[in-house]
Protein backbone atom coordinates (compact mmCIF):
# COMPACT_ATOMS: atom_id res chain seq x y z
CA UNK A 1 0.00 0.00 0.00
CA UNK A 2 1.30 3.43 -0.97
CA UNK A 3 0.04 6.13 1.37
CA UNK A 4 -1.87 9.27 0.38
CA UNK A 5 0.44 12.31 -0.09
CA UNK A 6 3.40 10.14 -1.14
CA UNK A 7 5.46 11.59 -4.05
CA UNK A 8 4.76 9.31 -7.02
CA UNK A 9 4.98 9.06 -10.80
CA UNK A 10 2.05 8.15 -13.04
CA UNK A 11 1.81 7.06 -16.66
CA UNK A 12 -1.10 7.93 -18.92
CA UNK A 13 -2.07 7.57 -22.53
CA UNK A 14 -2.45 10.99 -24.15
CA UNK A 15 -3.39 9.74 -27.61
CA UNK A 16 -4.27 6.18 -28.65
CA UNK A 17 -2.60 4.94 -31.85
CA UNK A 18 -5.75 5.72 -33.86
CA UNK A 19 -5.86 9.28 -32.50
CA UNK A 20 -2.30 10.19 -33.50
CA UNK A 21 -1.51 13.01 -35.92
CA UNK A 22 -1.69 12.18 -39.61
CA UNK A 23 1.93 13.22 -40.30
CA UNK A 24 3.76 10.92 -37.85
CA UNK A 25 5.87 8.06 -39.25
CA UNK A 26 4.37 4.59 -39.37
CA UNK A 27 6.35 3.14 -36.45
CA UNK A 28 5.25 6.01 -34.20
CA UNK A 29 1.64 5.73 -35.33
CA UNK A 30 1.52 2.13 -34.12
CA UNK A 31 2.16 3.11 -30.49
CA UNK A 32 0.24 5.45 -28.17
CA UNK A 33 1.54 8.87 -27.14
CA UNK A 34 2.44 8.33 -23.48
CA UNK A 35 2.95 10.81 -20.66
CA UNK A 36 4.76 10.49 -17.34
CA UNK A 37 4.26 13.05 -14.61
CA UNK A 38 5.00 13.26 -10.88
CA UNK A 39 2.95 14.56 -7.97
CA UNK A 40 1.42 13.82 -4.56
CA UNK A 41 -0.91 10.83 -4.41
CA UNK A 42 -4.47 11.95 -3.59
CA UNK A 43 -5.58 8.63 -2.01
CA UNK A 44 -3.95 5.44 -0.71
CA UNK A 45 -3.28 3.09 -3.65
CA UNK A 46 -1.30 0.12 -4.97
CA UNK A 47 1.28 0.19 -7.73
CA UNK A 48 -0.51 -0.19 -11.07
CA UNK A 49 -3.79 1.37 -9.83
CA UNK A 50 -5.53 4.18 -11.68
CA UNK A 51 -4.90 7.15 -9.38
CA UNK A 52 -5.11 10.93 -9.15
CA UNK A 53 -2.17 13.09 -8.18
CA UNK A 54 -1.61 16.76 -7.40
CA UNK A 55 1.34 18.06 -9.41
CA UNK A 56 3.79 20.79 -8.35
CA UNK A 57 1.76 23.42 -10.20
CA UNK A 58 -1.35 22.34 -8.26
CA UNK A 59 -3.02 20.51 -11.16
CA UNK A 60 -4.74 17.16 -10.91
CA UNK A 61 -3.59 14.41 -13.27
CA UNK A 62 -4.94 10.90 -13.54
CA UNK A 63 -3.03 7.81 -14.64
CA UNK A 64 -1.52 4.47 -13.65
CA UNK A 65 0.70 4.56 -10.59
CA UNK A 66 4.14 3.43 -11.78
CA UNK A 67 6.66 4.59 -9.15
CA UNK A 68 6.84 5.60 -5.51
CA UNK A 69 9.41 8.28 -4.62
CA UNK A 70 10.75 8.10 -8.22
CA UNK A 71 14.50 8.57 -8.38
CA UNK A 72 16.88 9.74 -11.10
CA UNK A 73 19.32 6.94 -11.79
CA UNK A 74 21.03 8.19 -14.95
CA UNK A 75 24.81 8.04 -14.83
CA UNK A 76 27.94 8.16 -16.98
CA UNK A 77 27.30 4.72 -18.51
CA UNK A 78 29.75 1.87 -19.06
CA UNK A 79 33.38 2.89 -19.52
CA UNK A 80 34.19 3.90 -23.11
CA UNK A 81 37.87 3.15 -23.76
CA UNK A 82 37.89 5.18 -26.97
CA UNK A 83 37.58 8.39 -24.91
CA UNK A 84 40.81 7.66 -23.06
CA UNK A 85 42.48 6.92 -26.42
CA UNK A 86 41.43 10.36 -27.74
CA UNK A 87 42.75 12.03 -24.60
CA UNK A 88 46.17 10.39 -24.99
CA UNK A 89 46.28 10.83 -28.77
CA UNK A 90 45.82 14.60 -28.76
CA UNK A 91 48.26 15.10 -25.88
CA UNK A 92 50.86 13.07 -27.71
CA UNK A 93 50.41 15.05 -30.94
CA UNK A 94 50.75 18.37 -29.14
CA UNK A 95 53.28 17.63 -26.41
CA UNK A 96 55.10 14.61 -27.85
CA UNK A 97 56.03 11.31 -26.24
CA UNK A 98 57.82 13.14 -23.43
CA UNK A 99 54.36 13.80 -22.04
CA UNK A 100 54.20 10.15 -20.92
Amino acid sequence: MIKKNTWVQIEKVVLKPEERAANVPLDTKQVPLLMWVKGYLQNDAQSGDLVSITTLSGRTEEGLLVAENPAFKHNYGDFVPEILQINQMVKKILFGDSHD
Binding site: L15, A21, T28, V31, L34, S57, Y76, E82, I86
Partner: protein
Protein backbone atom coordinates in the same frame (compact mmCIF):
# COMPACT_ATOMS: atom_id res chain seq x y z
CA UNK B 1 -20.76 15.90 -30.27
CA UNK B 2 -17.22 17.09 -30.89
CA UNK B 3 -14.85 16.54 -27.98
CA UNK B 4 -13.39 19.96 -27.15
CA UNK B 5 -10.17 18.31 -25.99
CA UNK B 6 -9.66 16.12 -29.06
CA UNK B 7 -6.44 16.58 -31.00
CA UNK B 8 -8.25 18.25 -33.92
CA UNK B 9 -10.34 20.56 -31.72
CA UNK B 10 -7.35 21.79 -29.70
CA UNK B 11 -5.14 22.29 -32.76
CA UNK B 12 -7.94 24.29 -34.42
CA UNK B 13 -7.86 26.89 -31.65
CA UNK B 14 -4.07 27.15 -31.38
CA UNK B 15 -3.84 30.80 -32.48
CA UNK B 16 -6.39 31.85 -29.89
CA UNK B 17 -4.53 29.94 -27.16
CA UNK B 18 -1.19 31.43 -28.20
CA UNK B 19 -2.47 34.99 -28.22
CA UNK B 20 -3.44 34.66 -24.55
CA UNK B 21 -0.27 32.79 -23.66
CA UNK B 22 2.36 35.13 -25.09
CA UNK B 23 0.53 38.44 -24.82
CA UNK B 24 1.24 39.31 -28.47
CA UNK B 25 -1.36 39.78 -31.17
CA UNK B 26 0.72 38.52 -34.07
CA UNK B 27 -1.97 39.52 -36.59
CA UNK B 28 -0.96 43.17 -36.05
CA UNK B 29 2.35 42.47 -37.78
CA UNK B 30 1.03 40.76 -40.91
CA UNK B 31 1.71 42.99 -43.92
CA UNK B 32 1.29 41.21 -47.28
CA UNK B 33 0.06 37.82 -48.36
CA UNK B 34 3.01 36.00 -46.83
CA UNK B 35 5.01 38.78 -45.17
CA UNK B 36 5.11 40.30 -41.72
CA UNK B 37 7.05 43.17 -40.19
CA UNK B 38 9.81 41.35 -38.33
CA UNK B 39 11.63 44.43 -37.06
CA UNK B 40 8.42 45.99 -35.79
CA UNK B 41 7.57 42.76 -33.95
CA UNK B 42 11.04 42.85 -32.35
CA UNK B 43 10.82 46.57 -31.51
CA UNK B 44 7.35 46.47 -30.00
CA UNK B 45 7.99 43.40 -27.90
CA UNK B 46 11.62 43.64 -27.00
CA UNK B 47 13.81 45.79 -24.82
CA UNK B 48 16.84 47.91 -25.66
CA UNK B 49 20.15 46.08 -25.33
CA UNK B 50 21.04 48.05 -22.19
CA UNK B 51 17.71 47.07 -20.62
CA UNK B 52 18.31 43.40 -21.33
CA UNK B 53 21.83 43.61 -19.92
CA UNK B 54 20.38 45.03 -16.70
CA UNK B 55 17.70 42.28 -16.45
CA UNK B 56 20.32 39.61 -17.04
CA UNK B 57 22.93 41.04 -14.70
CA UNK B 58 20.39 41.08 -11.88
CA UNK B 59 19.49 37.43 -12.51
CA UNK B 60 22.76 35.55 -12.85
CA UNK B 61 23.03 35.75 -16.63
CA UNK B 62 25.67 37.10 -19.01
CA UNK B 63 29.21 38.50 -18.67
CA UNK B 64 30.62 35.02 -19.28
CA UNK B 65 34.36 34.78 -19.96
CA UNK B 66 35.79 34.60 -23.47
CA UNK B 67 38.64 32.10 -23.30
CA UNK B 68 41.41 31.62 -25.83
CA UNK B 69 41.97 27.94 -26.60
CA UNK B 70 45.75 28.10 -27.07
CA UNK B 71 46.32 24.35 -27.21
CA UNK B 72 43.40 23.56 -29.50
CA UNK B 73 44.60 26.35 -31.82
CA UNK B 74 48.09 24.81 -31.76
CA UNK B 75 46.60 21.40 -32.57
CA UNK B 76 44.65 22.84 -35.54
CA UNK B 77 47.89 24.39 -36.86
CA UNK B 78 49.35 20.88 -37.17
CA UNK B 79 46.96 20.29 -40.06
CA UNK B 80 47.25 23.44 -42.19
CA UNK B 81 50.01 25.29 -44.05
CA UNK B 82 52.31 27.61 -42.08
CA UNK B 83 50.73 31.02 -41.56
CA UNK B 84 47.24 29.51 -41.30
CA UNK B 85 45.18 28.40 -38.32
CA UNK B 86 43.13 31.23 -36.81
CA UNK B 87 43.16 31.76 -33.04
CA UNK B 88 40.17 29.91 -31.54
CA UNK B 89 38.25 31.49 -28.64
CA UNK B 90 35.28 30.14 -26.75
CA UNK B 91 32.56 32.05 -24.93
CA UNK B 92 32.06 29.95 -21.80
CA UNK B 93 28.29 30.20 -21.61
CA UNK B 94 28.12 27.17 -19.31
CA UNK B 95 28.87 29.65 -16.53
CA UNK B 96 25.43 31.29 -16.76
CA UNK B 97 23.04 30.25 -13.96
CA UNK B 98 21.49 26.94 -15.14
CA UNK B 99 24.53 26.15 -17.28
CA UNK B 100 23.96 27.33 -20.84
CA UNK B 101 23.35 30.33 -23.10
CA UNK B 102 19.65 29.45 -22.90
CA UNK B 103 19.59 31.41 -19.64
CA UNK B 104 19.80 34.53 -21.81
CA UNK B 105 16.60 33.61 -23.64
CA UNK B 106 14.80 32.53 -20.48
CA UNK B 107 15.81 35.65 -18.53
CA UNK B 108 13.86 37.98 -20.80
CA UNK B 109 10.90 35.63 -21.34
CA UNK B 110 10.40 35.07 -17.61
CA UNK B 111 10.91 38.76 -16.83
CA UNK B 112 8.19 39.50 -19.38
CA UNK B 113 5.86 36.89 -17.84
CA UNK B 114 6.35 38.44 -14.40
CA UNK B 115 5.82 41.98 -15.72
CA UNK B 116 2.58 40.97 -17.46
CA UNK B 117 1.30 39.37 -14.28
CA UNK B 118 1.29 35.71 -15.29
CA UNK B 119 1.36 33.24 -12.37
CA UNK B 120 3.58 30.76 -14.13
CA UNK B 121 5.51 29.88 -17.26
CA UNK B 122 5.47 26.85 -19.55
CA UNK B 123 8.18 25.79 -21.97
CA UNK B 124 8.08 22.94 -24.46
CA UNK B 125 11.70 21.82 -24.67
CA UNK B 126 13.87 18.74 -24.28
CA UNK B 127 16.98 20.90 -24.13
CA UNK B 128 18.87 23.18 -21.77
CA UNK B 129 16.12 25.75 -22.17
CA UNK B 130 13.94 23.87 -19.65
CA UNK B 131 16.46 24.28 -16.85
CA UNK B 132 17.01 27.89 -17.92
CA UNK B 133 13.30 28.74 -17.64
CA UNK B 134 12.97 26.78 -14.38
CA UNK B 135 15.98 28.59 -12.91
CA UNK B 136 14.69 32.04 -13.89
CA UNK B 137 11.15 31.19 -12.70
CA UNK B 138 12.62 30.22 -9.32
CA UNK B 139 14.20 33.68 -9.04
CA UNK B 140 10.83 35.41 -9.65
CA UNK B 141 8.72 33.03 -7.58
CA UNK B 142 6.75 31.90 -10.63
CA UNK B 143 5.39 28.41 -11.17
CA UNK B 144 7.02 26.50 -14.01
CA UNK B 145 6.05 23.55 -16.19
CA UNK B 146 8.47 22.01 -18.68
CA UNK B 147 7.25 19.57 -21.33
CA UNK B 148 9.81 17.20 -22.79
CA UNK B 149 9.93 14.58 -25.49
CA UNK B 150 12.02 12.18 -23.42
CA UNK B 151 11.31 8.49 -23.94
CA UNK B 152 10.58 6.02 -26.69
CA UNK B 153 7.38 3.97 -26.31
CA UNK B 154 9.26 1.45 -24.10
CA UNK B 155 10.11 4.25 -21.63
CA UNK B 156 13.78 4.10 -22.60
CA UNK B 157 14.96 7.67 -22.22
CA UNK B 158 17.74 9.67 -23.84
CA UNK B 159 20.29 10.08 -21.01
CA UNK B 160 20.88 13.77 -21.71
CA UNK B 161 17.14 14.54 -21.67
CA UNK B 162 16.70 12.68 -18.38
CA UNK B 163 19.47 14.83 -16.92
CA UNK B 164 17.68 17.93 -18.16
CA UNK B 165 14.48 16.72 -16.45
CA UNK B 166 16.45 16.33 -13.22
CA UNK B 167 17.79 19.88 -13.53
CA UNK B 168 14.28 21.26 -14.16
CA UNK B 169 12.96 19.45 -11.08
CA UNK B 170 15.92 20.66 -9.04
CA UNK B 171 14.86 24.24 -9.87
CA UNK B 172 11.31 23.40 -8.77
CA UNK B 173 9.59 22.85 -12.11
CA UNK B 174 6.85 20.34 -12.84
CA UNK B 175 8.18 18.17 -15.64
CA UNK B 176 5.85 16.47 -18.10
CA UNK B 177 7.64 13.72 -19.99
CA UNK B 178 6.25 12.38 -23.24
CA UNK B 179 7.07 9.60 -25.65
CA UNK B 180 8.16 10.46 -29.19
CA UNK B 181 5.92 12.51 -31.44
CA UNK B 182 5.13 16.00 -32.67
CA UNK B 183 1.81 15.87 -30.80
CA UNK B 184 3.78 17.21 -27.84
CA UNK B 185 2.43 20.49 -29.16
CA UNK B 186 -1.13 19.29 -28.42
CA UNK B 187 -0.25 18.55 -24.79
CA UNK B 188 1.47 21.94 -24.62
CA UNK B 189 -1.62 23.78 -25.89
CA UNK B 190 -3.89 21.95 -23.44
CA UNK B 191 -1.62 22.89 -20.53
CA UNK B 192 -1.53 26.54 -21.62
CA UNK B 193 -5.34 26.53 -21.65
CA UNK B 194 -5.65 24.71 -18.35
CA UNK B 195 -3.18 26.86 -16.40
CA UNK B 196 -3.31 30.27 -18.11
CA UNK B 197 0.47 30.39 -17.79
CA UNK B 198 2.82 32.32 -20.07
CA UNK B 199 4.28 30.48 -23.07
CA UNK B 200 8.01 31.01 -22.53
CA UNK B 201 8.60 29.94 -26.12
CA UNK B 202 12.13 29.85 -27.49
CA UNK B 203 10.87 31.77 -30.49
CA UNK B 204 9.22 34.91 -29.10
CA UNK B 205 10.86 38.33 -29.62
CA UNK B 206 11.85 38.30 -25.91
CA UNK B 207 13.63 34.98 -26.24
CA UNK B 208 15.65 36.14 -29.24
CA UNK B 209 16.35 39.62 -27.84
CA UNK B 210 17.87 37.88 -24.81
CA UNK B 211 20.62 36.39 -26.99
CA UNK B 212 21.59 39.73 -28.54
CA UNK B 213 23.70 40.44 -25.45
CA UNK B 214 25.77 37.34 -26.28
CA UNK B 215 26.64 38.80 -29.68
CA UNK B 216 27.49 42.24 -28.35
CA UNK B 217 29.47 40.84 -25.41
CA UNK B 218 31.66 38.62 -27.56
CA UNK B 219 32.56 41.57 -29.78
CA UNK B 220 33.47 43.71 -26.77
CA UNK B 221 35.34 40.86 -25.01
CA UNK B 222 37.35 40.21 -28.14
CA UNK B 223 38.26 43.90 -28.55
CA UNK B 224 39.37 44.14 -24.93
CA UNK B 225 41.44 40.96 -25.02
CA UNK B 226 42.98 41.13 -28.51
CA UNK B 227 42.43 44.73 -29.71
CA UNK B 228 40.76 43.11 -32.74
CA UNK B 229 37.31 42.14 -33.86
CA UNK B 230 36.56 38.47 -34.47
CA UNK B 231 36.69 37.53 -38.16
CA UNK B 232 34.31 34.63 -37.79
CA UNK B 233 31.72 33.56 -35.23
CA UNK B 234 30.47 29.97 -35.20
CA UNK B 235 27.05 29.17 -33.71
CA UNK B 236 25.60 25.73 -33.06
CA UNK B 237 22.36 25.77 -35.02
CA UNK B 238 19.06 23.99 -34.34
CA UNK B 239 15.94 26.16 -34.25
CA UNK B 240 17.94 29.17 -35.43
CA UNK B 241 17.46 31.39 -32.38
CA UNK B 242 21.05 31.14 -31.19
CA UNK B 243 22.38 32.25 -34.55
CA UNK B 244 19.73 34.95 -35.15
CA UNK B 245 20.10 36.54 -31.71
CA UNK B 246 23.89 36.40 -31.72
CA UNK B 247 24.11 37.94 -35.19
CA UNK B 248 21.66 40.69 -34.26
CA UNK B 249 23.73 41.49 -31.18
CA UNK B 250 26.96 41.56 -33.22
CA UNK B 251 25.37 44.02 -35.65
CA UNK B 252 24.41 46.26 -32.74
CA UNK B 253 27.99 46.22 -31.46
CA UNK B 254 29.88 46.82 -34.73
CA UNK B 255 29.32 47.95 -38.32
CA UNK B 256 32.18 45.75 -39.54
CA UNK B 257 31.30 42.53 -41.32
CA UNK B 258 31.93 39.39 -39.28
CA UNK B 259 31.33 36.04 -40.96
CA UNK B 260 28.47 34.24 -39.23
CA UNK B 261 28.68 30.46 -39.52
CA UNK B 262 25.98 28.01 -38.43
CA UNK B 263 27.06 24.49 -37.49
CA UNK B 264 24.85 21.43 -36.99
CA UNK B 265 25.49 17.77 -36.31
CA UNK B 266 24.69 15.72 -39.37
CA UNK B 267 21.83 13.32 -38.56
CA UNK B 268 20.87 12.65 -42.15
CA UNK B 269 18.58 9.66 -42.54
CA UNK B 270 17.16 9.68 -39.01
CA UNK B 271 13.50 10.70 -38.75
CA UNK B 272 12.96 13.09 -35.85
CA UNK B 273 9.42 11.84 -35.17
CA UNK B 274 10.29 8.14 -35.35
CA UNK B 275 9.86 6.09 -32.18
CA UNK B 276 12.49 3.64 -33.48
CA UNK B 277 15.08 6.29 -34.44
CA UNK B 278 14.71 8.31 -31.23
CA UNK B 279 17.36 6.46 -29.22
CA UNK B 280 19.64 5.82 -32.18
CA UNK B 281 20.87 9.39 -32.26
CA UNK B 282 23.46 10.72 -29.84
CA UNK B 283 22.50 14.36 -30.18
CA UNK B 284 19.06 15.59 -29.23
CA UNK B 285 19.72 19.16 -30.29
CA UNK B 286 22.10 21.18 -32.45
CA UNK B 287 21.48 18.78 -35.32
CA UNK B 288 20.31 18.95 -38.93
CA UNK B 289 16.95 17.38 -37.99
CA UNK B 290 16.06 20.77 -36.52
CA UNK B 291 18.55 22.98 -38.35
CA UNK B 292 17.34 22.27 -41.88
CA UNK B 293 13.54 22.46 -41.42
CA UNK B 294 13.70 25.52 -39.17
CA UNK B 295 15.94 27.34 -41.63
CA UNK B 296 13.71 26.65 -44.62
CA UNK B 297 10.46 27.18 -42.69
CA UNK B 298 11.08 29.24 -39.54
CA UNK B 299 7.38 29.59 -38.72
CA UNK B 300 7.04 25.90 -37.91
CA UNK B 301 7.75 26.79 -34.26
CA UNK B 302 5.32 27.08 -31.33
CA UNK B 303 4.37 30.72 -32.00
CA UNK B 304 2.61 32.11 -35.11
CA UNK B 305 5.69 34.05 -36.21
CA UNK B 306 9.12 32.96 -35.08
CA UNK B 307 11.62 35.63 -34.07
CA UNK B 308 14.40 33.19 -35.03
CA UNK B 309 15.13 33.75 -38.73
CA UNK B 310 18.61 32.35 -39.31
CA UNK B 311 18.73 32.71 -43.11
CA UNK B 312 18.65 36.49 -42.69
CA UNK B 313 21.99 36.38 -40.91
CA UNK B 314 23.91 33.26 -41.84
CA UNK B 315 26.93 33.53 -44.19
CA UNK B 316 27.96 29.87 -44.18
CA UNK B 317 26.31 26.69 -42.92
CA UNK B 318 28.40 23.61 -42.16
CA UNK B 319 27.75 20.18 -40.73
CA UNK B 320 29.97 18.03 -38.55
CA UNK B 321 29.50 14.40 -37.53
CA UNK B 322 28.60 12.97 -34.13
CA UNK B 323 32.05 11.35 -33.96
CA UNK B 324 33.78 14.66 -34.66
CA UNK B 325 31.86 16.45 -31.89
CA UNK B 326 32.58 13.70 -29.36
CA UNK B 327 36.25 13.82 -30.35
CA UNK B 328 36.43 17.61 -29.87
CA UNK B 329 34.55 17.36 -26.58
CA UNK B 330 37.28 15.08 -25.24
CA UNK B 331 39.98 17.28 -26.80
CA UNK B 332 38.59 20.28 -24.91
CA UNK B 333 38.98 18.28 -21.69
CA UNK B 334 42.40 16.87 -22.59
CA UNK B 335 44.09 20.02 -23.89
CA UNK B 336 42.26 22.91 -22.24
CA UNK B 337 41.07 21.33 -19.01
CA UNK B 338 37.48 22.37 -19.66
CA UNK B 339 34.77 19.71 -19.34
CA UNK B 340 31.63 20.80 -21.17
CA UNK B 341 28.53 19.04 -22.56
CA UNK B 342 28.80 17.55 -26.02
CA UNK B 343 25.99 19.23 -28.02
CA UNK B 344 27.31 22.74 -27.40
CA UNK B 345 30.67 21.68 -28.80
CA UNK B 346 29.20 21.22 -32.28
CA UNK B 347 30.42 24.71 -33.16
CA UNK B 348 33.83 23.96 -31.63
CA UNK B 349 34.29 20.93 -33.89
CA UNK B 350 33.35 23.12 -36.88
CA UNK B 351 35.67 25.93 -35.74
CA UNK B 352 38.60 23.51 -35.40
CA UNK B 353 38.19 22.68 -39.08
CA UNK B 354 37.33 26.21 -40.31
CA UNK B 355 40.27 27.80 -38.44
CA UNK B 356 42.64 25.84 -40.67
CA UNK B 357 41.54 27.80 -43.75
CA UNK B 358 41.94 31.22 -42.09
CA UNK B 359 45.23 33.12 -41.59
CA UNK B 360 46.87 32.66 -38.19
CA UNK B 361 46.39 36.35 -37.48
CA UNK B 362 42.61 36.01 -37.62
CA UNK B 363 40.18 35.21 -34.80
CA UNK B 364 37.36 32.70 -34.72
CA UNK B 365 34.90 32.73 -31.82
CA UNK B 366 32.87 29.71 -30.75
CA UNK B 367 30.00 31.47 -29.04
CA UNK B 368 28.80 28.92 -26.48
CA UNK B 369 29.49 26.02 -24.18
CA UNK B 370 27.00 24.11 -22.03
CA UNK B 371 27.31 22.37 -18.66
CA UNK B 372 28.01 18.68 -18.52
CA UNK B 373 26.89 16.05 -16.02
CA UNK B 374 25.52 12.54 -15.58
CA UNK B 375 23.72 11.48 -18.76
CA UNK B 376 24.68 14.70 -20.51
CA UNK B 377 28.28 13.78 -21.20
CA UNK B 378 30.20 12.23 -24.09
CA UNK B 379 31.01 9.21 -21.91
CA UNK B 380 27.32 8.64 -21.08
CA UNK B 381 26.16 9.25 -24.63
CA UNK B 382 28.74 7.01 -26.31
CA UNK B 383 27.96 4.25 -23.79
CA UNK B 384 24.25 4.67 -24.56
CA UNK B 385 24.93 4.52 -28.30
CA UNK B 386 26.80 1.24 -27.88
CA UNK B 387 23.91 -0.15 -25.79
CA UNK B 388 21.59 0.67 -28.68
CA UNK B 389 23.69 -1.28 -31.13
CA UNK B 390 25.48 1.70 -32.69
CA UNK B 391 28.99 0.74 -33.82
CA UNK B 392 31.57 3.07 -32.28
CA UNK B 393 34.96 2.97 -33.96
CA UNK B 394 37.92 5.04 -35.11
CA UNK B 395 38.24 5.89 -38.80
CA UNK B 396 37.21 8.62 -41.22
CA UNK B 397 34.24 10.48 -39.72
CA UNK B 398 32.84 11.05 -43.23
CA UNK B 399 32.04 7.32 -43.28
CA UNK B 400 29.69 7.68 -40.29
CA UNK B 401 26.09 6.58 -40.90
CA UNK B 402 23.78 8.25 -38.34
CA UNK B 403 21.80 5.60 -36.48
CA UNK B 404 24.24 2.85 -37.47
CA UNK B 405 27.72 4.04 -36.63
CA UNK B 406 29.70 6.74 -34.87
CA UNK B 407 33.14 7.17 -36.39
CA UNK B 408 35.63 8.95 -34.17
CA UNK B 409 38.38 10.54 -36.27
CA UNK B 410 41.53 8.37 -36.15
CA UNK B 411 43.46 11.64 -36.04
CA UNK B 412 42.39 15.29 -35.60
CA UNK B 413 43.29 16.14 -39.22
CA UNK B 414 40.25 14.14 -40.33
CA UNK B 415 37.83 16.62 -38.73
CA UNK B 416 36.38 18.38 -41.77
CA UNK B 417 33.32 20.60 -41.52
CA UNK B 418 31.14 20.01 -44.60
CA UNK B 419 29.72 23.02 -46.40
CA UNK B 420 25.94 23.08 -46.97
CA UNK B 421 24.77 24.82 -50.16
CA UNK B 422 22.93 27.84 -48.77
CA UNK B 423 21.51 28.64 -52.18
CA UNK B 424 19.46 25.45 -52.06
CA UNK B 425 18.27 26.30 -48.55
CA UNK B 426 17.20 29.76 -49.73
CA UNK B 427 15.36 28.23 -52.66
CA UNK B 428 13.52 25.90 -50.27
CA UNK B 429 12.53 28.84 -48.06
CA UNK B 430 11.08 30.68 -51.04
CA UNK B 431 9.26 27.56 -52.21
CA UNK B 432 7.80 26.94 -48.73
CA UNK B 433 6.77 30.58 -48.37
CA UNK B 434 4.79 30.72 -51.63
CA UNK B 435 3.46 27.17 -51.72
CA UNK B 436 -0.17 28.26 -51.29
CA UNK B 437 0.07 31.30 -53.58
CA UNK B 438 -0.25 31.97 -57.28
CA UNK B 439 1.02 35.52 -56.96
CA UNK B 440 2.51 37.71 -54.24
CA UNK B 441 2.69 41.47 -53.70
CA UNK B 442 5.65 43.86 -53.72
CA UNK B 443 5.71 43.95 -49.93
CA UNK B 444 6.08 40.16 -49.99
CA UNK B 445 8.93 40.56 -52.44
CA UNK B 446 10.80 42.85 -50.02
CA UNK B 447 10.10 40.40 -47.22
CA UNK B 448 11.49 37.43 -49.14
CA UNK B 449 14.63 39.43 -50.04
CA UNK B 450 15.16 40.03 -46.32
CA UNK B 451 14.30 36.44 -45.43
CA UNK B 452 16.89 35.07 -47.85
CA UNK B 453 19.36 37.97 -47.58
CA UNK B 454 19.35 38.13 -51.39
CA UNK B 455 18.67 40.85 -53.98
CA UNK B 456 15.66 41.38 -56.28
CA UNK B 457 17.15 39.80 -59.42
CA UNK B 458 17.93 36.57 -57.53
CA UNK B 459 14.46 36.42 -56.00
CA UNK B 460 12.62 37.32 -59.20
CA UNK B 461 14.44 34.54 -60.98
CA UNK B 462 13.42 32.05 -58.26
CA UNK B 463 9.79 33.17 -58.39
CA UNK B 464 9.82 32.86 -62.17
CA UNK B 465 11.04 29.27 -61.87
CA UNK B 466 8.14 28.57 -59.49
CA UNK B 467 5.62 30.33 -61.76
CA UNK B 468 4.70 32.90 -59.09
CA UNK B 469 3.61 36.35 -60.26
CA UNK B 470 4.09 39.67 -58.49
CA UNK B 471 1.36 42.35 -58.37
CA UNK B 472 1.55 45.94 -57.14
Amino acid sequence: MINQNSYQAVMARKNEIMKKAVGIDYSLYETGKISFDYEKLMRDNGYPLSGIEAIQKAHGVGSTPLKELHNITALARHYCPKGFGARIFIKDEALNDSGSFKARRASVAVYRAKTLGYKGVIAATSGNYGAAVASQAAKYGLKCIVIQECYDSHQVGQPEIIEKARACEAYGAEVIQLSVGPELFYTFLRLLEETGYFNASLYTPFGIAGIETLGSELVQDCLVQTKKLPNMVVCTNAGGGNLSGTARGIKKATDKAITIVGASVNLKGLHMASDHDFNRKSFTTGHTGFGMPFMTNPDRSDVPRSAARPLRYIDRYVTVTQGEVFFMTETLVALEGIERGPAGNTSLAAAFSLAQSLPASQIIVVQETEYTGAGKHHQAQLAFAKQNGIKVDFGNPQDEIPGTSIILPSHPGLIKAQEVDLNQIRQSLVKNSVKNEQFITEVDLDFLCQETNQDYPWLKNELKKLGIGVIK
